[in-house]
Amino acid sequence: MTKAFLSGNDAFAEGVRLARPQVISIYPITPQTTVVERISEMVEDSSLKSELIHVESEHSALSCAIGASAMGARTFTATSSQGLLYMAECLPYASGGRFPIVMMNANRSTALPWNIYGDQRDSLSQLDCGWIQVYVEDAQESLDMALQSYHIAENPLVSTPVMVNLDGFVLTHTYETVEIPSQTDADRFLPPFQTENKMSLDNPKNLAFSVGPDNNMEFKYLQHKAILGSKRIIEETDAKFAEIFGRSYGGLTQGYRLDDADYILITLGSITGLCREVVDELRERGEKVGLLKLRFLRPFPSDDLVAALGSAKAVGVLEKDISFGYEGTVYTNVNSVIAKNGLRLETYNFIAGLGGRDISRENITAIFRHLQTGGQHVNFIGLGVTIDD
């Protein structure tokens, strides 16, 4: 174990190195690029032994990873924004084929207008694609989830790709202190990849076939079931991780000062830290506020939500996302839990940080105020103009 001062991307690259992927396909896009740059350096200096493939696009990056995974190789790729959308066709391909690829996504706004800054519309717009989606908060969690993700994805009961999301710039490009585990510990944590879902000369297979109306729905159900079932594997993985590395993240969600909280803010990704600070501040003033960080968006942590929100008066969802013509997608997802479970509480949506707009401490404080006093359901935070017409 060593400590280093690394960016979120650097840290993720270290995690990838420790996971020993055998085939890596790379294509640059801001703000993902430094990950693949670090990995290129690792391959050059042999600290990572892997087939490094300079593909010609993101569609090819994921196609290549699928091909490699179909041979039973552990694979990695990374993307962001336009790149994620350019490979969109391959997303349900990888998940439907149950290839446990790990992909990092640097959350970035999508065009139009063009914008290289961080928001979460890219990955959230592809929430239905059958991947497990993780959102991490800081560089340490980035590194740790690079490792954990392989452990989750490759579990034969899961066998599903994992997308790890890092907020663009505020996480990908922010340097901070990170503990880097030793390779020995990493190897202890993560066994080599084994699967039945692959080609082999001894036991030839036909893969990625068609399935007509007769059997198709069963394949889809199996996929659904595997992701639902991954909840348990995610928790087991975290526990094993804690045992070896002494760090733990609590599974699908991570609560903060939730006991007796009347007003709960739900967050994902790197904004969580600031929100925790505000919670502390308000708690100090005696306000019963709490925070629930969603770490996984798929599988969706329904049970955790019910447990956390059961006795709250109001809940807010803060997200860097908007599903145009409705509301933020995370909010929609959270509301569904509330409706299904007949929870009686007000819910509010705070759309913030689109296109990289800063989210300030004042914004968060105001959000808690809104939770307490009530108001509009869907709120755009930090709009710089009067909404005049």
Partner: protein
Amino acid sequence: MSKPYLRHYQKPQKLSDYPLGTASEAGYLVTKNCGWRNERPIIVTSECINCLQCYLYCPDGVIFKTADGLDIDYDFCKGCGICEKVCPKQAIKMEVETND
């Protein structure tokens, strides 16, 4: 000689009967193709010089070598008549398929 062959197939009864992912045994046939056929190729052994043109050009690969010449896997022959066309000796005749 090996090739994909016909299996007795039973639709999965429970979820665990399905494969992991979309990976299943290679070369696993569950239905015949003879329903395609309106005409049936017959090799007239006496005319055949064993030049193997028919064997080579059959799109379905259903003509196979035997100890004494060639035979046809009628389960999978579609009756296209290409073998008849490529035979330099007119040693293949297409006969109208009967229904039994």
